[in-house]
Every structure is written in C-alpha cells, then in structure tokens.
Amino acid sequence: MNDISAIPAPVTQPPTEPYLRLSNLDVTFLAGRAPVHAVNGVDLVVAEGETLALIGESGSGKSVTLRALMRLNPPRRTKVTGEIRVGGRDVMKLDAKALSHFRGGEVAMIFQEPLLALDPVFTVGQQITEAIRRHETISREDARARALSLFERVRIPSPQKRLDTYPHEMSGGMRQRAMIALALACNPKVLLADEPTTALDATVQIQILLLLRELQRELGLSIIFVTHDLGAAVEIADRIAVMYAGRIVEQGSARDIIRNPRHPYTIGLLKSRADGAMVKGTRLEAIPGSPPDLSRMPPGCAFAARCPLAIERCREEVPPLVAQDTGTVARCWRVEETHVLRTGSWSNEAEPALASTR
C-alpha cells in the first residue's frame, strides 16, 4: 500500500521512467540505546529537470533521506533498506570505486553551512580543480579554466581573483555560490540541496534561489531541495513532498499543496505561518505538541497525537498514501474530512495537549 507506483496514474507522475527513484526506503540508526527509525518507508520519484522540495521540521528525516541517496550515512551504525535507483543504476549495489564516481559525477550535494563543508586550508579554486581532476584526466590549467567558468556561471564578481581566496575570506552568500560551483564541477545530473539558504539573509536567500532555478533550467538538473521554509520551497519547487517523523505524509504539485492541502499536518503548517493577511492581535493557529520520539514510534499515524481529527484507527494503523483527484497523495485515514481544518480552528485543544507531550 505504501508504494507510490501502485496509485492509479496521478498527473504529477512523470511519463517515462523517472531519473531518480526511492522505493520503500528505511533508515535506522543503531548507535544509541534504542534504534532510531529516522526514515520509514519513503517513496520518491524525481524526473529529469524537475525540482522537488522536501519539507519537514527538524528530525523529520529529510536530511537523512538525502544522505541515504548518496550513501553518506555511517555504514556501521546505520541500517538502510529499500531501493535507490539513479539514472538506471542501483545505488545500493555500487562498489567503492563506482560509488566515488557516483558522488560528484552523478549526484552532488550542497549543504546549509558552506564554511563547514569547504576545506579551510585550501583556496576554493584549489578545491574545485582537485574535484575535477579526481574525476577526469585533465591538465591543471584546463581544470582551472573550468573552475573559472563555473565561478562566472554562479555569478561571483571578479571570479579570477576569488578563485584564490580561502572560504573564510568570503561572505556567506558568496561562499554558498562557491559551494554550488564546486557541486557542479563534474557535471552532475542531480543536485541535492540540504537547507542551502537557511543560514542566509532573506535578501541573499532569494538571490541563491533564483540562481538555482536558472542553473536548473540551463543544465537540466534534477534538484531535491530540503527545507523547513514553505516560502523557499514555493519559490523553487515544481513539486513538494511533506515529511513527518520519517514518512512522506503528502506529496503533490507545489500549487496544489499550497492551495489545497489535504493532510492535517500540512494544513497546520500553512495555518501557523504569520503572514501579511493576519489581523493583529489574533492568535496564531499553532499545532499543539511536538513530533514523536523516533526511537519509540507509535504504531499508527505519527501525527495522531497532535491531530484534532484523530480516531482510534489513526492510532493503531499507519494510513496509506491516498491519491486525490488533483494528483496529490496524502497519508491520512480521514483525508476526505480534513477540509474542515482549513477553515475551522483547532486551538481549543491546543493548550492541554501541550503539557502532555513527551
């Protein structure tokens, strides 16, 4: 039931075999006292040249999903099951050599904090030429020329000079541009972006989002953009997938998710935003409580404890992804009735539930 492909042809489903496909992905961390179920049966498809935004709160498993895609989670302490296919290849079966070509050559990643992701003791130019020479047989001069054209492409001013600077000498927005240049150095097909704009000012964030959109159009990249900010997701994504406690609870076109959310959690997220239309002095519609402990996952829907519509069935059985007529899929037993939450209020139950969490 959890398999997204079992759903009768939603309109958002790309027509051909998608470039990237995750099927029934489970990631469990075994290091602590109890196993932590960070990702629980995630199914995702991303077509060539498509941008998918993965939205969720901290601890919802969005970054872990990205890392699993590149097999970056520590192998000894992590159990990963399920299928990961990128460009027709089974990523789970790649050997060490194929994997190191796959990382960077096929799929590249940019991170939230470029200062931590870049090496502080090499100039950014050295880091990019090193990456290119690692993947291809190419002279140092040619690699540097390519680094320069990458810097021009990501619109770094005076790129020749900037190639010889160290990461700490750059401003936050510039560093993020340099990291995007590094990620694109070996012509990957898929770009994984792990909250790349969260640490930036709004004025710089919008510049980076526009740059990613432009690169995606020109290079035909597939992008998975992880964020907790609905606004950033809407600016960049064709489709949005909402994660909660390691599961995708709703997925659909960006327009449909924003205009016509079906899952109670998505509705709650949209309602809890303070925006310009708010009348001063009215209370925000906060979702009561907090997400569940991933080492003690409830047997049913993970959101049931915070959901005003929860019934007995929600607490006992994990709901399947139910297809809607617009192509959106939502993981909720009462998906037909959730529209009442969009107009109604759930604050009457908010305060007592707060004290009883955890």
């Binding site: 989002l209 606004g231 924003i258 303070a274 907090s290 004290a355």
Partner: protein
C-alpha cells in the same frame, strides 16, 4: 525579602526606554602600517520605546541588531550615548545597573547555550530571584508557577536538565527565567528564529499572552519580517549600524519610504506558486561594517543612488507622525524629487545607475 513589583514611575506618557545617539565601535587588532581599524557596529541610534508596546528591529546579519540588544541590556558598554529607563539614566545613582537589570531581561536565540547545562531548569530560573535576595522557598514556588505559566508541567519538568528538553521547551524555560524577576522590559534577540515553524507559532502565542498578563514591553529583534509584522507595533529598520527607517508597522510595511526597506520587504519569498519572484530585489551581500560606504551607507546597493548619496549622509526626516526615514530621495531640501521613479515597477527602473 520579597521582590516588590517594579512600579511604574513616570506615568504612561513617559517612554519606558529612551536611547539617544547610541554608538559602539569595536576596535580591531592594531596594524603597524595603517590606522587602527574599527567595526562600526552601532553608529548613532535614536529610539524610544513606549510603555506596553512591542518594537521590532529588523535588518540583515551584521547590521548591528544584536549589538544594539546587548547595549540596551548593558551587557557591553556603549562608547557614546545615553540609555534612559523610565526617566532615569541607567548607571546613575538613581538607577544603578543591578536595579536596571531587574527591570530589563533578555531572551537569546540559542536556547541551549543560554542555559547552564549543570543546573536543573528549576535552579536556573530560581537563580535570579535568589541573587536578588528572595528566600529559596519563595523563589522555588515562584519558579513552579512560572513553569506552569509557560506551558511546562513543573512536576515533570522542574528537575530536568536543559539537554533533556526539546528546543521549543528550552525556549519556554528561557522565557520563564526572564520573567522570574518581574521585569518591565524584555529584549527578545531572535528568540524564535531557531525553532521549527509549528513550535514558533506556539511560542509567539505564549509571548503575546504573557505581554498582556504581566503588562510587559518588548523589543523584538528578528530577521523574519512576517513575524515582526504580526508581533510589533512599531518597527526599526537598521542598515550597517544606522537607522534607515522607523515607524508604525502598518505605515512602514505598506508605504515603505527607504529603498532598503522596500527591497527587504520584497525579498520575502512569496507563498504564491503562480507569482514567484523573478528578479532579486538586492544584489550582493551587505558591505563590511569595517569600512562602511561614505554618505548614505546604502548607496552602493541602491537602485536610485545619485551623486549626492555618496557625499552626504541623509538625516532622518519625518514623513508622517512617528514615521521617519533617512534617505535623500524625495527630500525637498535636496532638490531630488524622485518619488515618481520609485513608484514605477522595478523592471523599468533597473537600468538606472
């Protein structure tokens, strides 16, 4: 001794906090060859905070928001300028620092590093009142009341350590601790920025309720313009240590007069998938506060910059009651009547120098 309520002194018309020409420069390491460089973190801020209002402070990182907060709290000494609290100069014999800090409290962004990891949250909250001479028993009973008030059941949370709480719960503890001395003014320095959106809404609701219940005044520092619009009565827009624009929230958000404010507002991601942003309102990062641009500090990124802007610093000018802007544009004294140009859509004026 019990803490008596911090009584109002000057009456409702007297501003709770008045700041005049506040300046703070941080000297950098001395170099042999050039003059000692300085970071112009806060460079002449004037601000009045009225009793019972919420004043928002917005701006990009590095514009001096947090330095302003620390100066207001007297965590760092200003180089220049006065801070007047309800009619008394802070640090004077009438209002010594110790007394001032009972009346003004602060909540920081990082909920974890602002709590002592070796103290239970109960001990952390009771610490302030104990230092100010409240008996242990009374301090603890007040702590439990406050914990219950911020939505944490004291029977379950009082004995816990900070690492045993989630980020939202820890920020509730910090708010309870700020309330423990019954302050009149609370400075919230990005207090909800590190929280997840659903938790942020809970904490914002809590802050609104507490304000009403305890008659508090807030200085609310944030980079999230939506949250500021929702929370605040007035807003101060800072750029590189200076006030660019200040005024009532409705007036500033709907009729922003400074090009920087306009750019900040249009940098907010739209939540409308059919109406995505097409052109970034501002290019580049904010300039370095070590050597700020001459004249108007915004002229290097301003679409409407004119020769005068790099030569002369604009003085704040009152547009409407309480709404002041520091910009040469539209100032009759400069002879530049550019208000027409500014109303035109961004595309048509992008080509201007």
């Amino acid at each position: 001794m019990a803490l008596d309520y911090n009584a109002d002194r000057g009456g409702p018309a007297q501003p709770l906090l008045t700041v005049r020409n506040l300046v703070k420069h941080f000297p950098l390491k001395k170099s042999w060859f050039k003059e000692r460089e300085r970071v112009y973190a806060v460079d002449g801020i004037d601000l009045e905070v009225l009793k019972g209002e919420t004043v928002g402070v917005v701006g990009e990182s590095g514009c001096g928001k947090s330095t302003t907060a620390r100066l207001l709290m007297h965590l760092i000494e200003p180089d220049h300028g006065d801070i007047i609290f309800d009619g008394e100069v802070v640090g004077s014999p009438e209002l010594p620092l110790r007394e001032y800090r009972r009346q003004v409290q602060m909540v920081f962004q990082d909920s974890y590093s602002s709590l002592n990891p070796r103290l239970t949250i109960e001990a952390s909250i009771a610490f302030g009142p104990q230092v100010h001479g409240v008996s242990n028993k009374e301090a603890l009973s007040r702590t439990h009341d406050l914990l219950a008030r911020v939505g944490l059941d004291p029977r379950r949370f009082a004995e816990r350590y900070p690492h045993e709480l989630s980020g939202g719960q820890r920020q509730r503890v910090n708010i309870a601790r700020a309330l423990a001395l019954q302050p009149r003014l609370i400075i919230l320095d990005e207090a909800v920025s590190a929280l997840d959106k659903s938790v942020e809404a809970q904490v914002l609701n809590l802050l609104m309720d507490l304000k009403e219940e305890f008659g508090l005044t807030y200085v609310f520092i944030s980079h999230d313009l939506n949250v500021v619009r929702y929370m605040c009565d007035r807003v101060l827009v800072m750029y590189l240590g200076k006030v660019a624009e200040i005024g009532p929230v409705a007036s500033v958000y709907e009729r922003s007069a400074h090009p920087y404010t306009t750019a900040l507002l249009s940098s907010m991601p739209s939540i409308d998938p059919d109406n995505r942003t097409q052109v970034a309102p501002l290019a580049g990062d904010p300039p370095n506060p070590i050597s700020p641009p001459s004249g108007c500090r915004f002229h290097t990124r301003c679409k409407f910059a004119l020769p005068l802007c790099s030569e002369r610093e604009p003085m704040p000018r009152e547009l409407a009651p309480g709404h002041r802007v520091a910009c040469h544009l539209g100032d009759p004294a400069t002879g530049y009547v550019v208000s027409e140009a500014r109303r035109a859509p961004a595309e048509t004026v992008a080509g201007l120098p």
